[in-house]
Symmetry: C2
Subunit: 363 residues, 2 copies
């Protein structure tokens, strides 16, 4: 077996979900990721854990959803009971063809997702990780041949996460106590917001592997200015290019996109919260040096920031602070590698992708 | 998709387990059989059934069993609860390499099988079918290239099962009321037994697909004579060739084998019941015209009979009749195509593979 797969399994088991003897561990994976499942099962066996396998088939799923003539799905009670007694969940993404379910009516997918929402809520309370197997579908999406994509994926995941955590901690220490932020990139992005009282989270490969971002929540009403998302965004298999938003009083008051603006509008129209920002993240994983049309990687790319319209991430918003509620959450990315800076409480903390703690900007 | 796979799925769903609207149907399959899973999911969706997928990975299974250092497995409670509420179970066999688990300690497999025995017992009370996907592993075992093996497998399964049932019914009508049987093949097999009061079952593709046998139980103490099993038998990945048994008073009193006799002896020594016969079956599926080292097919081959040492099949033995109890059940096959006959209550009912109801034997 490819030693990179074994290393990936070790990082998942030891670092991400910290498996202990006697733990019940659910592994959810597509068939194409069988090699990783084998490596995980070996690790879980060695650690005295009890694994259970939920191998998915997106092709079977598609066939069923298209053939059935109902939108009325029931919660799978046994899956719920099983999740309740599970200690850790390992979710592996990967597909032979990333467009396999592209002709399934979105209402049916939504109806089933909603029926199974209690299982997902239960899972959020467990140790869990979402990770990637470098399958041909995602390689194609990234416009890379599979072996190059493998290099890219393992480069981003199989790294020294303690070192990465310490690197990112410096940014957490800047953002966590901060009040005001300003993000400027070229002539197209100049956005200010308050992050006062919000919590900044250090993501170093626990719930997401790869990790590699620090993220917090803007105070919803505080966002002001305009932003051009110069990296494309995939939504429902369609690519939104050159999305541009102008905020006033926290709300999107003007918008535009070069391609598939209707998809962007669809998200903005979800509900009131979808017109406000829920997340601000700083990508700090420099082994992710290219865009791969996969948010698990893209949002952690070095020299980028991302903003999400819609729902805030619960753990970034303390009880007494305003929480942006929404059914939507769409991450969009701004390139910060050139003519860009991030200002925190009046001080520049990143310039053209370089952080203040790396360079004193003494020039 | 290969139309033969779709036809296979239809036969499984409509003929074997008779799926109805609202049924909960469990599909257990290896990843290599994903095409069949897709076809089944389409059929199940169309019929308004609720499928759940249990996709197996023998490689992951092997890795876990070898890595863990326990023989102490627990019953998987949720799987048990799930089986209790399942209406029908579809078990698909198939492997990329039939020897994938050959280095797993048999004690561990046995310990886990025994921990999960309640789930298997529960399943036996459901509508269920065991069937085959023509995967490369079983093709290699049969010494056939995969496309020829596909022809063979679909030829044996995708047939008119009503016609096959009626063909076999003629043999059931002979055996069910019968008392004495004699099986003679060449100079090497001459065995007599009573089947008095036992029930003969017509297997036409319900619990086994392919089906194609009629089977009953010998009265355990009645078996007398000798038998040479001239078709090889696989056990724990090893092939027993030329097994020969001599019975007296129902018990094996002498035995021999040309190859791997120790495996045969291992089975005979399991317990007292393993030295007596538990099953007599007549293979009647003439589309199975060759041996493929897969008992699901081999025991239904035309022009053969098979005998199992060990446990009798429950439904063939009425309450008041003697039941042969054992932990073992090893089917072994006798070629009846030449110099052979089956006699029932003094009358020849099959000669050289041809049945009395096909030819009056008036010569």
């Amino acid at each position: 077996m490819d030693p990179r797969i074994r290393r990936h399994a070790e990082i998942i088991v030891d670092h991400s979900v910290k498996v202990e003897k006697g733990d019940t561990v659910q592994v959810a994976a597509p068939a194409v990721a069988e090699d990783l499942v084998v490596a995980l099962y070996e690790q879980l066996g060695e650690r005295g854990a009890k694994p259970s396998l939920s191998m998915r088939s997106s092709r079977a799923d598609r066939a069923f959803l298209r053939a059935c003539d109902t939108d009325d799905f029931e919660l799978h009670e046994h899956s719920m009971a099983e999740m309740e007694e599970t200690d850790a969940v390992i979710i592996v993404k990967g597909s032979e063809n990333a467009a396999e379910t592209s002709d399934v009516p979105p209402e049916k997918v939504a109806a089933r997702t909603s029926a199974n929402a209690p299982i997902q809520r239960e899972r959020m309370g467990k140790r869990w990780v979402g990770t990637q197997f470098p399958a041909p579908g995602e390689a194609q999406l990234a416009e890379m041949r599979t072996s190059s994509y493998e290099e890219f994926v393992y480069g981003a995941m199989n790294k020294d996460w303690d070192e990465q955590r310490e690197f990112q901690r410096q940014m957490v220490e800047i953002l966590d106590p901060a009040d005001e932020m300003r993000i400027v990139s070229g002539d197209t992005t100049d956005l200010t917001m308050s992050i006062s009282g919000m919590k900044t989270i250090n993501d170093y490969g626990e719930k997401n592997l790869p990790g590699g971002e620090v993220f917090t929540a803007p105070v919803p009403d505080s966002v002001k200015g305009e932003v051009l998302f110069d990296k494309p965004v995939m939504r429902q298999g369609r690519e939104i290019e050159g999305a541009w938003l102008r905020f006033e009083g926290g709300e999107v008051v003007e918008h535009n996109a070069e391609k598939n603006e209707d998809v962007l509008v669809g998200v903005l129209d979800t509900d009131e919260g979808a017109r406000r920002l829920g997340e601000l993240g700083i990508g700090m994983n420099r082994d992710i040096d290219r865009f791969s049309y996969n948010m698990l990687f893209d949002e952690k790319m070095g020299d980028t920031i991302h903003l999400a319209i819609g729902k805030a991430i619960r753990e970034t918003v303390p009880e007494e602070r305003p929480y942006n509620e929404s059914a939507a959450h769409l991450d969009m990315i701004v390139d910060m590698s050139e003519n860009s800076f991030i200002e925190v409480d009046g001080e520049i903390v990143q310039r053209d992708g370089t952080f203040r703690f790396e360079d004193n900007f003494d020039e």
